[in-house]
């Protein structure tokens, strides 16, 4: 069973719920090492995504993801807007014209998203950014596309997010803090984890083997 356009919609609705629930937490994380607007920005951005998806009927995952990217780009202030926006728009290209995607398509879409984030943010893995979650997730999905375990993917995403705590920031506002950024989770990695967690719980419920 593949990933249907309706699953993608449910995934993003679920992501929105998580962003609303964790708005204060994300903002608190960002107050520690950034400019303190991450929760507000992500909650506002995904709220707008949910509104857009609610009033639009999609048969093409590509156009759903493209719209999501454009909304995030224009509604999320700060660095997360262009980064998440680019990620979704790059992923959209892979899914163009598909009503249902395979896990191999998902792997390819995630890889394109990673490439887009790297290009936009000029960051690499290990710099305490959202890439530290995006890249291992993309890699895992590509390597396990034949028999993807959504719960294992969720665990990997969470562990990758937790690992950012011990990293020193090399990019973004937190980089101004240098070694003082160690000991704090990277807010963008935490919100990326919520995105991946929502994907895994959505797909698990759809009956994929866990």
């Amino acid at each position: 069973m593949g990933i249907h356009v309706n699953d993608v919609k449910q995934w993003l609705f679920k992501t929105n719920s998580r962003m609303q629930e964790e708005k204060a937490y994300l903002t608190a994380l960002d107050q520690a090492i950034g400019d303190g607007d991450h929760g507000i920005n992500m909650a506002r951005g995904f709220q707008e995504v949910a509104i857009k998806l609610e009033k639009t009927a999609y048969t093409d995952i590509g156009s759903l993801l493209q719209d999501t990217g454009m909304v995030l780009l224009s509604k999320v202030g700060g660095a997360s807007g262009p980064l998440f926006g680019t990620a979704f728009m790059k992923a959209a290209m892979v899914c163009k014209g598909k009503t249902e995607a395979t896990t191999a398509d998902l792997g390819a879409a995630l890889q394109e998203a990673v490439n887009g984030i790297k290009l936009r943010g000029k960051a690499e893995v290990g710099s305490k950014t959202m890439l530290d979650v995006w890249e291992p997730v993309a890699q895992y999905v590509q390597e396990h596309a034949e028999q993807l375990s959504w719960s294992a993917l969720n665990d990997l995403a969470r562990l990758s997010m937790e690992k950012t705590k011990e990293m020193e920031a090399k990019k973004g506002r937190a980089a101004y803090l240098g070694p003082r950024s160690v000991g704090h989770l990277d807010p963008g990695s935490v919100s990326t984890y919520y995105l991946m967690e929502a994907l895994c719980t959505t797909m698990n419920r759809s009956g994929e083997p866990a």
Binding site: K75, G78, A79, P82, G172
Partner: protein, 129 residues
């Protein structure tokens, strides 16, 4: 011959509105456009606003762009990707205030895009005291 256009990108609309007023006093005939704040005029930057700002001052003389903080660069690069045909857009690696001030003076003299960028980037080396 047109003067090189100047685009000012900032997280704050007020910040670049103020800077625009300063620069307009220096050289009233140099085309300058601003892109400050998000689409809702909150703190942040907007690729859409940046795109419109570039379009409004673009000519065959080119455009030099100045920005304040990190993520403004990302939205600027995104806007430039949307404006593929406009190949004379340059991002100055220079401080927003000093750089744009120097650029406006240079552009006002009828200098080329390369000269304006060079003068703007040299502003990094100005000692303030």
């Amino acid at each position: 011959m047109n003067n090189v256009g100047i685009v000012l990108v900032s997280h704050s609309k007020e910040l670049v509105s103020g800077l625009l007023a300063v620069l307009k006093q220096v050289q009233p005939h140099v085309p300058i456009a601003i892109a400050g704040g998000t689409d809702d005029d909150e703190i942040g930057t907007s690729a859409q606003k940046i795109r419109q700002a570039i379009e409004s001052v673009y000519s065959d003389a080119g455009v030099v762009l100045f920005f304040d903080l990190g993520s403004a660069l990302m939205n600027t690069e995104l806007a430039m990707e949307w404006l593929e045909g406009m190949d004379k857009i340059r991002i100055a690696d220079a401080p927003l205030v000093e750089g744009s001030y120097a650029a406006v003076v240079e552009s006002g003299c009828g200098s080329t895009l390369d000269e304006v960028v060079k003068t703007a980037e040299d502003a990094k080396l100005i000692e303030k005291r």
